[in-house]
Symmetry: C2
Subunit: 408 residues, 2 copies
């Protein structure tokens, strides 16, 4: 018996790509589709030791309800880490532990967005941010973005005289999906701009610790003096994603609102998981773990970039990210990455077509490759399969022929 749902459900659908990819989890398939960390980097033994110690020393506390804000020793560690990284002036009582940084997106949508409000994002942007925010029925404005970040003039033009401008969402470091990183200059100018327009920014930083070359660039939050930047962070990429422990850092006037929303959303994040991580941080060396992750992903990135340079036909472009987990491929404009995926599934190699990363459509000729989850030899093999598929695909749809004709 059908019942009436909220109007927001009209906009929210299961992704057909996700459905397609569900059938590609056989071991013989080489997947560049997910955003999965390498499981061989998970400190399983250390987590086991930390769990034993925790449950021996503070088992009852770990299993009981706790405060919405989160476990204080963990919040202290997070604040210290953020301060140490780029001098951002953030205190433990501005840190809210969330159920993954994904929850930070959901809470931000709830905090800021009424139906019809405008969210500015990079073009392309993280697809799960689109779906989290979409539940609050905003209009997305995808701001033209180049290798240095959002083009600030373009953002300014769109902010000017826009009374519904409510939120800016960006991933300045090793962006998902493109792998691109904002220059210092663009960060500085964004912070200046939002100060003038008083529009808050959600700065999503899941990959910031995964830099393989070059120098770290200060976060937006470290440049902000007006409490307009909310930073999202996570243990998913530096420890493990399965525990769903993330955080958000916000100025006090926003922080207290986030706490109210977090409480009504799920009371608090798992005490056991928070204390497991806190015990791990106390007794183990997470920096050694991160160094190991960086080394492995660094090599995988190098292997994937080299394979793409070797194998891809002319006319296919891709990014060379300095960190993170993804790179971004652009086919000639008349080609569809979704059609290519169909061919690739037959050849047992998969990726995520880029269209889903554009909230208002477009980017059909692009796709995202993940390089963190597959061992090096599988990356080489996978890129070979991909290149064969692309060549075959190009042969069927030559560059000079318009798409409609090619389909005939």
């Amino acid at each position: 018996m059908m019942v009436r749902l909220a109007r927001r459900m009209e906009d929210l659908r299961a992704s057909d790509i996700r459905e397609m990819l569900k059938f590609t989890q056989a071991p013989e398939v080489i997947s560049f589709a997910g955003g999965l960390p390498a499981p061989e980097c998970f400190p399983v033994e250390e987590l086991k030791e930390a769990s034993i110690r925790l449950l021996q020393q503070a088992g009852r506390q770990a299993m009981q309800y706790s405060t919405t804000e989160g476990h204080l020793p963990l919040r202290r560690w997070i604040a210290a880490r953020m301060r140490q990284r780029d001098g951002v002036d953030v205190k433990p009582d501005q840190i809210l532990v969330t159920s993954g940084s994904q929850q930070g997106l959901d809470l931000s949508g709830k905090l800021f967005l009424d139906e019809g409000d405008v969210v500015f994002c990079e073009s392309p942007t993280y697809l799960a941010a689109i779906s989290a925010l979409q539940a609050f029925r905003p209009c997305f404005v995808a701001v033209p973005t180049d290798d240095d970040g959002m083009v600030i003039e373009e953002l300014e033009q769109r902010l000017r005289g826009n009374p519904r401008a409510k939120l800016i969402y960006v991933i300045p470091d090793f962006q998902n999906p493109t792998g691109r990183t904002w220059s210092f200059e663009r960060r500085r100018r964004l912070v200046e701009l939002v100060r003038r327009f008083r529009v808050p920014v959600v700065e999503d930083c899941p990959y910031v610790e995964l830099r393989y070359e070059g120098e770290p660039i200060p976060s937006l939050m470290s440049l902000d003096r007006d409490g307009l930047v909310v930073a999202l962070g996570t243990f998913s990429k530096i420890f493990c994603p399965g525990m769903r422990i993330g955080w958000l850092a916000a100025a006090p006037h926003l922080f207290e609102k986030y706490v109210i929303l977090k409480q009504s959303a799920d009371l608090h994040t798992s005490t056991v998981s928070q204390m497991q991580i806190a015990t791990y941080l106390e007794t183990c060396d997470i920096d050694a773990n991160i160094t190991r992750i960086r080394e492995i992903y660094h090599r995988r990135r190098d292997v994937m970039v080299a394979a793409l340079e070797r194998e891809l036909p002319a006319g296919v472009r891709f990014t060379r990210p300095k960190g993170g987990m993804f790179l971004w491929v652009e086919l000639p404009r008349h080609l569809s990455a979704r059609d290519l995926l169909v061919t690739c599934i037959e050849r047992q190699v998969v990726f995520v077509p880029g269209g889903s990363f554009f909230p208002n459509g477009g980017g059909e000729h692009t796709f995202r490759l993940n390089f963190s989850n597959m061992p090096e030899e599988r990356i080489v093999e996978g890129i070979q399969r991909l290149a064969v598929a692309i060549r075959e695909f190009l042969a069927r749809r030559p560059a000079f022929e318009p798409r409609a004709a090619a389909a005939g």
Copy 2:
């Protein structure tokens, strides 16, 4: 620098009661305020063993991202448990693991409610359900409720000709805050009624396993043939709340929508926690654990009821719940439980004033007592302190004197 928030934030405030109670966590304070399980019932040692086994056998899987729906062995256990309990025809693929059953409330609000839609609830009802649903800006209609549950005629009257009727929220077993349980007859009639009006029901069942006397009564979901009832469940009261593992069970057409919303809210619930519980369920005897919890809470309920009968002055009424964790006290109508709380804080005994459990105000003369968290001798001592405070309070505000005059 203040920024513009979503309109919903006008309705959502930090509870001042919560703020008051923050200062009452000293060990000398006897708290009947929280809804905390007894930590001495947590199977700490078993969880430690289960964690070791899990991390030895499936550490990498436990630490990795997993499906939004949840860990399949856990979903199988939940479905089997629900079937076994009252024959409800629910399959594992109708079970969504949530971050506590609180998240089931948030997702239900998101799924069903547009601004101005009507939610029907018991009077009084669970205060965290009010705050979860309030984020979607509905109107609450508190339906008159007696010792057998909602008065169905009253609900029918309010449903009739109400085009905005969108959702009914109930806690049929050992309700929070009153401890009352719906009769079979009321359940049957509710299910008939919603079938006619096609309004979905969220049936919140956190306490259903905590029955201390009498026979279990079939759930609404077991009586529903139309997929209109969504059931929420949780491990918080039968295992531990600190892991935030709950679930919802829904008909397939609703289930798939919930999955979309869950994915955008936090991707999935902690894989580690889900697999820790699944391993515990596989290797330990949760029924023995529940029996132990029941025995302890049963005695605490008896002790609290006996103490109240002995100590409370005439004119103060209270419920005698057959299970759960709470009972409900009604002072003479002209008295304020908030004012009483101020006196009680001085005497180092605290409770939650009832007003917060009425979405549209009222119930100022009522309050909720929790009996699960304090040992028996503390319950006796606490009820003595409470009774002294009430007598003193009554002496200052005699029953025949109207409130306004008494304040002068």
